[in-house]
């Protein structure tokens, strides 16, 4: 009984709770029972918020009883722990914030709770969202629900693992260079990064402000649309949130791709990811065609410069954003003899290796004598990358590509920082251009080491503000291919 409750999609859950066939409270209780059985193996959550969840559930049940209808009534929600939820610990996966309770709630979190979602807890992430595996968390290991020896992907790995292992129905993640799409691909779920500025960043602990964007991780495209509809829209608390009217995406989902031009990137096609993986993507593109899409070849000649551009811009912005962690107003403090020593010691003890590495790169890239050569050069490269996409969208409506450079790899397999950065080769150019992009399950392939097959994600990308088109197309692909339905996590299922 409990399992059938937690395996429902968000759409099914909301329908049953709104119809008073099920209560939000019983769904919340069933979810916590699942988490207690499962999370010891998966390690998705850093904090569980059971009292808060039950209070929210009771409030949702009261609102329904009073005649209200809520788009996400009773739907379990896992929140990446770089988003503030008033009164709960918010760590960003870092020792520097361990024990810090948020004094306010992020706009995106508040909006999804107002739509009826139930906060199950805060999920693990790469420290300050810096990473592609979740291994950079200072606070624990999260495992891929399909293979306990493998990473769930990063940085929103905790939210992805929670959704994939049925510990939650919706996960909120943040995507800076691929941190929603890549863990979604590794965990066989849907991960959607909206257009930059579509979702308020107020209450999201900033990593790279010109790139960060909150979005949903779900087990279906319809659920991603419902969650996105709940959180999207301008916010007076975030001056970079865009004031472009939001139209419902959940009502524009389609069944076929007739009349849609799908662009396949010739530079990506020339790069083999290995025969087994290439075959999965060739099949995915053929499936798009079968659904009625016209496949056209497009060029993204500067895509190869994406990683270099990103690894200057993102660290530069992070070195500036993370200056606020100085041991004065919140978080860890390691006392020194004077202020300078207090800063030096606090940040040395509080930040992990990847965060230090990126702060150092960013500080160097912004320092006197290097600014033009590194930071400004990267900002110009970004212009060229964005222009490439604009040109490409003259010939196609949506671009199809892999979501990650490989299936989930083994924990500890990538010890060299740059080899980890290469994982985001396909997602980073999209992020630099601010475009809406989604990863949808598209098949399975054996990793290089010959282990059991692991899931892969198809990345679909649309022009700026093309969310309705993008989610509509992703839905048609998903329901025709049913890869997302073949959902049976191998770990975290012991009785």
């Amino acid at each position: 009984m409990a399992d059938s409750l937690i395996e429902m999609t968000a759409a099914e859950t909301a329908r049953k709770v709104n119809a008073r066939e099920r209560s939000a409270r019983e769904i919340a209780l069933a979810t916590f029972e699942r988490v207690r059985r499962t999370d010891g193996e998966v390690g998705a959550f850093l904090t569980l918020t059971e009292d808060l969840a039950l209070a929210h559930a009771d409030r949702v049940d009261e609102r329904i009883a009073a005649g209200e209808s809520l788009p996400l009534a009773g739907v379990p929600l896992a929140v990446k722990d770089n988003m503030c939820l008033r009164g709960t610990q918010t760590t960003a996966g870092s020792k520097i914030l361990l024990g810090w309770n948020a004094p306010y709630t992020a706009t995106a979190v508040q909006r999804i709770l107002d739509a009826g979602a139930i906060p199950i807890g805060k999920t693990n992430l790469d420290e300050f969202a810096m990473g592609s595996s979740c291994e950079n968390s200072a606070l624990g290991v999260t495992r891929n629900p399909y293979d306990a020896q493998r990473v769930p992907g990063g940085s929103s790995g905790g939210s992805a693992a929670a959704v994939a292992s049925y510990e939650s129905t919706i996960g909120l993640g943040s995507d800076t260079g691929g941190s929603i799409r890549e863990p979604a691909a590794f965990c066989n779920i849907v991960g959607f990064k909206p257009t930059y500025g579509r979702v308020s960043r107020y209450g999201l602990i900033a990593f790279a402000s010109s790139l960060d964007q909150i979005g949903p991780l779900t087990r279906s495209v319809e659920d991603a649309a419902l969650a996105y509809d709940a959180i999207a829209g301008v916010d007076p608390m975030d001056a970079t949130s865009v004031d472009v009217p939001h139209e419902s995406t959940a009502t524009s989902l389609r069944q076929d791709l007739k009349g849609l031009r799908v662009g396949i990137v010739k530079e990506y096609r020339a790069k083999s990811l290995g025969p087994a993986i290439d075959e999965v993507y060739a099949k995915a593109y053929a499936d798009l065609e079968t659904l009625g899409a016209e496949i056209v070849e497009i060029g993204l000649p500067t895509a190869d410069y994406g990683i270099a551009t990103y690894y200057l811009i993102a660290p530069a912005e992070c070195s500036s954003n993370l200056a606020r962690f100085d041991g004065v107003r919140y978080g860890l403090r390691v006392e020194g003899n004077d202020m300078a020593e207090t800063y030096d010691r606090t940040r040395a003890a509080g930040f992990g290796p990847e965060v230090k590495r990126r702060i150092l790169i960013g500080t160097h890239a912004l320092s006197s004598g290097y600014y033009d050569a590194y930071y400004l050069k990267a900002q110009k490269a970004r212009t060229k990358i964005a222009a490439d996409f604009e040109n490409a969208f003259g010939a196609c409506d949506v671009i199809a590509a892999p979501a990650a450079a490989s299936p989930a790899f083994r924990l500890g397999a990538k010890s060299d920082p740059y080899s980890m950065y290469l994982m985001d080769y396909y997602t980073i150019p999209v992020s630099l251009a601010g475009l809406p992009s989604i990863s949808v399950p598209c098949g399975w392939a054996r990793p290089d080491d010959g282990a059991e097959e692991m899931p892969l994600g198809l990345q679909l990308t649309a022009p700026l503000f093309g969310e309705r088109l993008l989610l509509g197309a992703a839905h048609a692909y998903e329901i025709a291919t049913k890869h997302a339905k073949k959902h049976a996590p191998r770990i975290g299922v012991r009785a």
């Binding site: 810090w100 410069y305 200056a323 403090r333 004077d338 230090k356």
Partner: protein
């Protein structure tokens, strides 16, 4: 593009992060490697290209200059590592000499 040579100790001082000797060696090598990869941007001709700080056109956003709700003093101080008399307490900043 500048030389990937970087004085990791100097950068760490600017970034206010104390490094051990081991860390300085490790990060020094890793950063040189990363900056070596990043040097690929030199191949890209950007002579007539404007910089993009953000892809969405941004406009200044203003609100009425009127009082609104904000964190109370006790809420703002609730996360402070040390406080005293309603203020953040920090080590002495002005020296005796």
């Amino acid at each position: 593009m500048a030389s990937p040579d970087l004085d990791v100790r100097y950068v760490a001082k600017l970034a206010r992060i104390a490094l051990t000797d081991d860390e300085a060696r490790t990060y020094g090598a890793q950063l040189a490697d990363i900056l070596g990869h990043v040097a690929a941007l030199n191949e890209l001709d950007t002579s007539d290209v404007a910089a993009t700080a953000q892809v969405i056109e941004s406009r200044n956003v203003e609100r009425e200059d009127s009082p609104a709700l904000c964190l109370t003093r006790s809420e703002a101080l609730a996360g402070a590592p040390r406080e005293q008399g309603g203020y953040f307490r920090v080590p002495r900043i002005i020296g005796e000499s």
